[in-house]
């Protein structure tokens, strides 16, 4: 796909759009990369009381600009945190019900918001063995999800090869029937659009198009039939101030190249 004509990268756009979805006072279980940047941007912008949780075992850290962690499991994740605790216990906060939103990147997603980070091709005989779930399955099973990813046909597929992290499974009430009445995929943020899921069918539905992006452009980069809201949200382009915060956080463009 082509870069939207503007002075920001696709990743910066993702981070800005995603940050606007977060509300003050929320507890957000975030992965590194765009999710962390978006959550931190939200904190500095409009959600000063938002709390970030990291899978490695951190509650409420401050990220030091230019010292972004390589994963959620290094000491950089703990700078000036309110608490550190064992991995199992921070993940159990999801099960206990303390977390408002889980927020991560995605490799492959389908029209019902299921995520695959395990296998491309057949699980028993894969073309590519991907790294795996990490906490993805736990987060997706136990809270509402936001996913930020690049909008590409090969990533947006009719049906994922393997459900690593459950979305709405086969749509409708199938997620609850499979034993997961709580949580579910809430928003998918890409460099082209912001999507939600139909309240009934649970099919992926475009809620708004990013500045300068056409409906056709989104459809061309999606491997299945997307629903579109009758009235699409108007999405404001990234503001200089938002981009400035991101560039201060990630001067080396580790995650925003």
């Amino acid at each position: 796909m082509t870069e939207p004509a503007a002075s920001y990268t696709a990743s910066e756009l993702l981070a800005v759009m995603a940050s606007r979805l977060l509300r003050d006072g929320q507890i957000v279980f975030a992965g590194v990369g765009v999710p962390l940047l978006a959550a931190t941007l939200a904190q500095r912008n409009h959600a000063p009381h938002l709390t970030i949780l990291f899978e490695g075992g951190t509650i409420g850290p401050f990220i030091v600009p230019g010292e972004l962690p390589p994963s959620t499991n290094e000491q950089r994740c703990t700078r000036r945190a309110n608490m550190v605790l064992p991995i199992t216990d921070v993940l159990l906060l999801l099960q206990r019900g303390y977390v408002d939103v889980g927020f991560m990147g995605g490799a492959q997603i389908d029209r019902f918001g299921n995520l695959n980070s395990s296998f491309i091709g057949q699980a028993d005989n894969p073309k590519i063995r991907l790294p795996g779930s990490g906490g993805g399955n736990d987060i997706s099973s136990l809270t509402d999800m936001i996913v930020a990813m690049k909008h590409e046909k090969r990533r947006f597929v009719e049906k994922v090869d393997f459900i690593t992290s459950p979305g709405w499974i086969n749509g409708g009430g199938t997620r609850a029937e499979r034993g997961l009445p709580q949580g579910g995929m809430w928003r998918v943020v890409t460099d082209l659009a912001i999507m939600g899921f139909d309240a009934e069918s649970r099919e992926m539905t475009v809620l708004g198009l990013n500045p300068g992006v056409s409906r056709e452009q989104v459809e061309d980069n999606t491997g299945f039939r997307l629903l579109f809201e009758a009235r699409l949200e108007k999405i404001e382009p990234p503001r200089q101030q938002e981009l400035a915060v991101l560039r201060q956080l990630d001067p080396e463009r580790l995650y925003t190249a």
């Binding site: 490695g56 290094e74 000491q75 906490g135 736990d138 997620r175 034993g179 997961l180």
Partner: protein, 323 residues
């Protein structure tokens, strides 16, 4: 089905534990001596997570000792997983995520061994691995969980779990089988000669691993006196009687990090990534040659990584205490 997927009868678990010498005794030894405590084919749990508090010196010793057919389990597996597969030490990994780290992309070494079925990669959700260790640590045969339902991830290990309707609420639960590793390798900032260990910062799954395992090998940045331990008993995280061996290895996680002591050695990690970017297996074997087999000692391994890289990692590591 692998042995660690089956839950051992409770009386066997008790016997294994009661037969251990749990008296207050010194157990300091060398890396080489500690490596002899590991038998081929055993299940070895690795402490830390991704690039943090990886017991790299002990893994280095196991690879040099040419162990075979080890099953490895860890919360999240990074470069040590590549090295254990490429060295032939392990052919079975139980973990929730396996690659060097997000910024370096998918591990080609992991792909080579798993896609060609040269090694088995059992994938569990992160919390599920933690709860399996916790059940083992608590002397329980299983831990109930609300995760891994409805997904292919859960389906794929269905032969190792049970789904049950809660007898109190009727809700569906996954029963996760206890994991009681034969050994746990854990690196700590400090412990005494008996094995009473203090852990700073992120603890990951180390305490559950230590209590679940049948034998624990501790490597430590330094050995402190039992008097120091007794002055702050609420700082002890692992009790001496769970520990079989104590090895003092400064900078024992290099090129990974040890909280408050050193951050990841990024220069070394980028070099490793470059070496496995082409023919990954050949690159990894060459890395093993250069860093694992050639050096005569751990200090020599460290000098090959380089003084400047190390000092920089240590400066960054200590910085958590600067604020």
């Amino acid at each position: 089905m692998t042995s660690e997927a089956l839950v051992a009868p409770y009386q066997d678990l008790r016997r294994d534990t009661l037969l251990r010498d749990r008296g207050l005794r010194e157990k300091v030894m060398s890396l080489e001596a500690a490596a002899q405590l590991v038998r081929d084919g055993e299940h070895v749990a690795i402490g830390g997570c991704t690039l943090s508090r990886t017991p790299m010196a002990m893994i280095w010793a196991l690879i040099r000792a040419k162990k075979r057919n080890l099953t490895i389990s860890r919360s999240i597996t990074s470069t040590e997983g590549d090295l254990l597969l490429a060295s032939g030490v392990s052919n079975h990994v139980i973990t929730s995520w396996f690659s060097q780290g997000i910024v370096w992309g998918v591990s080609k070494v992991m792909r080579h061994y798993t896609e060609r079925k040269l090694a088995r990669f059992d994938e569990w959700s992160h919390m599920s691995i933690g709860l399996r260790y916790r059940a083992g640590a608590m002397g329980l045969p299983f831990m109930p969980s609300r995760s891994m339902l409805g997904s292919d991830l859960g389906e794929r290990v269905a032969d190792q779990t049970k789904i049950m309707a809660c007898p109190f609420t009727g809700e569906p639960l996954t029963l996760l089988p206890a994991l009681n590793p034969d050994l746990a390798l854990i690196h700590v900032q400090r412990c005494d000669a008996f094995g009473n260990a203090q852990l700073d910062g992120l603890q990951f799954m180390d305490i559950d691993i230590a209590m679940a395992a049948k034998r624990v090998i501790l490597t430590t940045e330094r050995i402190i006196s039992n008097e120091q331990i007794r002055r702050l008993p609420d700082a002890t995280r692992i009790p001496f009687f769970a520990v079989e061996a104590v090895v003092e290895v400064p900078i024992g996680c290099a090129p990974h990090e040890c909280y408050g002591a050193y951050e990841p050695f990024f220069v070394a990690l980028d070099d490793y990534a470059k070496r496995v970017s082409g023919d990954a297996v050949a690159g990894c074997r060459q890395y093993l040659e250069d860093y694992y087999y050639a050096p005569k000692s751990w200090p020599e391994y460290l000098s090959r990584i380089g003084m400047e890289t190390m000092l920089d990692a240590c400066r960054r590591g200590r910085s958590v205490y600067n604020d």
